[in-house]
Symmetry: C2
Subunit: 667 residues, 2 copies
């Protein structure tokens, strides 16, 4: 096609001789087509563009031009935490690694560097617009503008203290301030980001929705990411997540909801009716074991579903080519239907639908006159793209989705500005970014490294409990007769202060370095006289492996750390990665008695697992000084004799040594 | 670490200053380590290597050296068919596109070029060994040796004629000949490849197993890829696939089984007991909607499970980095367990376990003294790899699996020979390959393009049925009374030759170009007198849209193509992609009668869908000449009157025109 350029139609940049995938509603493709760019916008596309003249005419030499990809959900500064911790369950990953490191390191400098690093990677992989959610979002916005990208920047609001706010009121004020100052920016759309229903209060959700509505900006959040979240919502609120947030007024705003993995048909319709966009994050959802979102059904219902990488800490890259391919493949695999989510529709999710999900469809996502000039040029001459077939006009979509790589992106333009030409970044200095990122990684490594030198430090790092050193004198011995023990306890010389019964499950973890001590996770079931369970609690105890001293058979030992266990045994196992694990199950009768003016705990134990003949009696008392310990040890020795136990038939401090022979401390 | 090179320890190539991931059984990693290569083998790894001196010392400058990846299942020449047809169901893809094109184009030249193209792509992405299955396997082997790669080359054996063999006896002879001539080759391990249980006979399976056992070579096959295959095996053989092939003696050979998507615990144990290796192909299995193989369970049972790309026609690339990442992600996603298949184990599948699955574990898959020097050098300094954390020694596996790309591969060595240095291929000419591949694509496009110009040609292309032109005179008219029709049929002037009843479901497909005619897919249920279904058949008819001629109300029409429908309505719909579809359901009584010495078919129809009042009578007869047609038309007009039908109340040739108003041919 030859159209003479008319001198009265001038633009700034004219791309010619391209296969132009407009990704418009009709999926128009122009062969040997052009794109005319005037200022920051598209003036014309296709044959009409070739009527323009421009000072800067770029011959695309048959390459493919398409809209810049839209990364519909990420936490871009987390590029700095890429690969920090992998193959872990969400709670261990989040509470054991991400949150402690974020508490220590996240500040505006971290956020700016992480954003620049992430933007560099996204530009290289053809992204021109992304939806972010993080702390210090203003720093994200500044760095994004510096890189030249377009973004929905959403300021996180949480009910907990965050790196950038001591309270949620502070976060909300920060969000309002940020929105007011950035709402007219040509590249940035500011927004509030109530993090998730389970990390926010109903007031936060409502306040964020009202804030977004007040300034007519979107609202970015995580919804229904895991089954756990949905189950908890059903238990707490009597309904799943979507109806609950609807009830809190969240849909008064233009919502961009990340994940929506576990939503039913009714919930999808509710999202559609609310005009909400959805960000599908297939890699992150698989990697964290969250599941697979029903995107084929969402698309059938007319929802705007974009594709997101999520943060690089759970992906571990920001590659929209990989993400789009995975979305297309997964839809087929789980539906047993190879015709599901064809390549063209997957690419639409990564462009036009993604922009609409961000409520930025009027600005970007397709190549149409009037939209911003956000576009990329692909080199499909690389080996893994060869050959290609022209028979089916739709084959080009399949080629891009199933064969092309992000490294095939040659040129990137956003808002009319070139950000990359011939694979060279124009707005960012890669070498500097790499070096600065490495320096952060060294510091984070040192922080985690020093923490990981000690089980105690790792325990403190996850917070939520207090370090407490307590010293005890104690002895554990076989007793020949339960009746004799009871008789002594009920005798005249003893006063029973308290009596109780338990069914105890103790999990003992030991470490390659015995100096680390031993960690015990104890689950107590409280029993009544009849043996019925009336309650339960879990406690975590880190015990030093060295006996402080012995007084005959009586040990003076130190319990370095004692706290309610806030997480599951599974959490601690995955977090501490012990070298060995042993489990003890027992029935315990416990008495707090006063004897000669001193309080002692008496534990009469029957071991169920490992099944052990006979009964054990443990006598212990807190102590404060070596002298006090010596005195109490003398009393304990005397008591043992009364209970009929021989001081020669004692155990060292823990039953675990019955099962973990080689684990016994050196004497 | 500084170790003086000893002059008595000389090797040919010495890699130094590398992070060496040996991928040995203990997952040994050497930092600032080396690899000493003597001839085609590894002489030493780690500190021991640094004692060697060499003329060629390569300073790896802190980069990562690991074993070359093992692509455990592919059809490498199909690189030439990449992107030929996508987003289709397996049968449409295979029978509609792959097989017709393979019948037309596959010859030794095609196979050599496709292999060179595929090898170039695999070298670029760090593969040094692959398991192939195709036709003209000797040409695959020759081209692979030319590229310098190691491969298990398996000659396909099928019960159908194949591009390289008219019969399965010929295939078997070809396989035997190939194995005898190549079994001592330093790079190639030849093998027979009975394609799959459902494309082979029991004799083929047994003969291939015996052939493999005779020469002590592996046997490569596809097992349990789809649920359909397993269900069919249960129905035909009364057992699923694995026990059935075991019964046929397949496990007398060292089997490499591709897919194994639908296998239960017992079948996995049977594979393990047989010493079989498994090739997991996650992209292909997702893309074709086959499902997701239970690899976590397989690994727990101790099976050697490798990772394969499958052919580039169903992937659409040969990128083992993507494949390994997908394997790791999928295992977590479907198990709801982010700790499942951690990165280290996924990378082991792509290296050591893959080599073992190919029964080539003694040659390759890990960096250990005595094994062949098959290794790659990775540049982890690229943006998407930055930063990285040193805290956890296993983090390097996560970085490679979750963040790195095939384009990070810098250098590739196979059998002690460099195949790529600094991303430049040394054994293949990329530009030539690209141009030759494009030329093939042009020819294939032309072949398919001419075929797709005509529905008839597309129908013939999928084979299995005969073109048959038949001319008929026919009329269809409303009849006022069923009783009157029956009375005439049972009257004296007619002889009933045959009578039958049907319940008919007709699917009509029309095309944008009406000249293409109309395709009818008819499902007949045979009914007995009581209306019970006694049998069924499906038939496909392509009808020309133009009436040849009319004689009053009687039409002379042409049925251009008539055949039993070998595939499902769904298959034809997806293959032909019609512009419109209409469905008619009716009850039909049919008589073959002789009237005045001429045979006529009488169809008395009651339309159920669309529900239509009254009855229609169709009268038709085959014809051979215009004169015969005119004579029969006169008789038909006379008959119509007897049946009480008015010649003014006739329909044109098909009921579909009752429902497809706009679809009516121009009169």
């Amino acid at each position: 096609m030859t159209i003479e350029a008319r001198s009265d139609l001038r633009c700034d940049v004219l791309l010619t001789n391209a296969i132009v995938l407009t990704m418009d509603d009709g999926f128009t493709i122009h062969h040997a087509g052009g794109v005319a760019i005037a200022g920051n916008s598209i003036a014309a596309v296709g044959p009409a563009a070739l009527a323009y003249s421009a000072a800067d005419v770029v011959d695309c030499r048959g390459r493919v031009v398409l809209p810049g990809l839209v990364n519909a959900h990420t936490h871009v500064p987390m590029a700095l935490l890429r690969g920090l911790a992998d193959d872990m369950r969400l709670d261990v990953w989040l509470m054991g690694y991400m949150m402690p490191v974020e508490r220590e390191f996240v500040n505006p400098d971290f956020v700016r560097l992480g954003t620049r690093l992430g933007c560099a990677e996204m530009i290289r992989s053809g992204v021109t617009c992304f939806a972010d959610m993080y702390y210090f979002e203003e720093a994200v916005a500044e760095a994004t503008v510096g890189a030249g990208l377009r973004a929905l920047c959403a300021q996180t609001v949480l009910r907990f203290p965050a790196p950038d706010a001591a309270s949620y009121e502070d976060s909300l004020a920060l969000a309002r301030d940020f929105i007011m100052r950035w709402r007219d920016h040509p590249l940035i759309v500011p927004a509030p980001a109530p993090h998730a229903p389970y990390t926010c209060t109903p007031e936060i959700l409502r306040a964020c929705a009202e804030l977004a509505a007040e300034f007519d900006v979107p609202l970015h959040t995580h919804l229904s990411e895991t089954l756990l979240e949905v189950e908890a919502s059903r238990q707490t609120h009597g309904m799943p997540v979507i109806p609950w947030v609807k009830k809190q007024g969240l849909f008064g705003a233009k919502v961009l909801a990340a994940h929506c993995v576990h939503v039913d048909d009714g919930e999808m319709r509710a999202l559609k009716n609310a005009g909400a966009g959805v960000a599908h994050n297939p890699t992150s959802n698989l990697k964290l074991g969250a599941g697979i979102a029903p995107v084929v059904r969402m698309l059938a219902l007319g929802l705007d579903v974009g594709i997101g990488t999520d943060g690089a800490a759970s992906n571990n890259d920001l590659d929209m080519f990989e993400e789009t391919r995975l979305a297309a493949l997964l839809a087929k695999g789980i539906g047993n239907d190879p015709t599901a989510l064809p390549a063209r529709d997957a690419l639409a999710m990564a462009t036009r639908l993604g922009a609409r999900a961000l409520h930025m469809g009027h600005l970007t996502g397709s190549l149409e006159p009037g939209k911003r000039a956000d576009l990329i040029v692909l080199d499909l001459d690389t080996l893994h793209n060869v050959p290609s077939f022209g028979r089916d006009p739709g084959a080009i979509y399949a080629q891009i989705v199933y064969a092309s790589k992000s490294t095939d992106v040659l040129d990137v333009m956003c808002n009319g500005q070139w950000l990359m030409r011939e694979r060279a970044l124009l707005t960012l200095n890669e070498a500097e970014l790499r070096e600065a990122a490495r320096e952060y990684a060294r510091r984070i490594d040192a922080f985690l490294g020093s923490r990981e030198l000690s089980v105690l430090q790792k325990l403190i790092a996850i917070g939520g409990a207090i370090e407490e050193e307590s010293f005890e004198v104690q002895v554990k011995a076989r007793v020949p007769s339960v009746e004799q023990v009871i008789a002594v306890i009920e005798g005249d010389e003893m006063t029973v202060v308290r009596a109780s019964r338990y069914h105890q499950f103790d999990t003992y973890w030991s470490f390659a370095d015995p100096a680390q001590g031993r960690l015990r996770y104890r689950e107590d079931e409280f029993l009544d006289e009849a043996g019925t369970v009336t309650g339960a609690r879990t406690r975590l105890t880190l015990t030093g492996r060295t006996r402080e001293e012995t007084f005959g058979a009586v040990l003076l030992s130190r319990s370095r750390y004692l706290a309610p266990a806030l997480h599951s045994a599974r959490f601690y196992r995955e977090y501490f990665r012990p070298a060995a694990e042993h489990v003890i199950e027992k029935q315990r009768r416990r008495w707090l008695v006063a004897y000669h003016g001193v309080e002692f705990y008496l534990h009469l134990d029957c071991l169920l697992n490992p099944p052990t003949e006979g009964f054990f009696l443990e006598v212990k008392s807190r102590t404060w000084s070596r002298r006090d310990a010596r005195d109490k040890a003398a009393v304990i020795t005397e008591l043992l004799a009364r209970f009929g136990a021989s001081p020669d038939d004692t155990l060292s401090d823990s039953y675990v040594e019955l099962v973990a022979g080689t684990d016994r401390p050196a004497s």
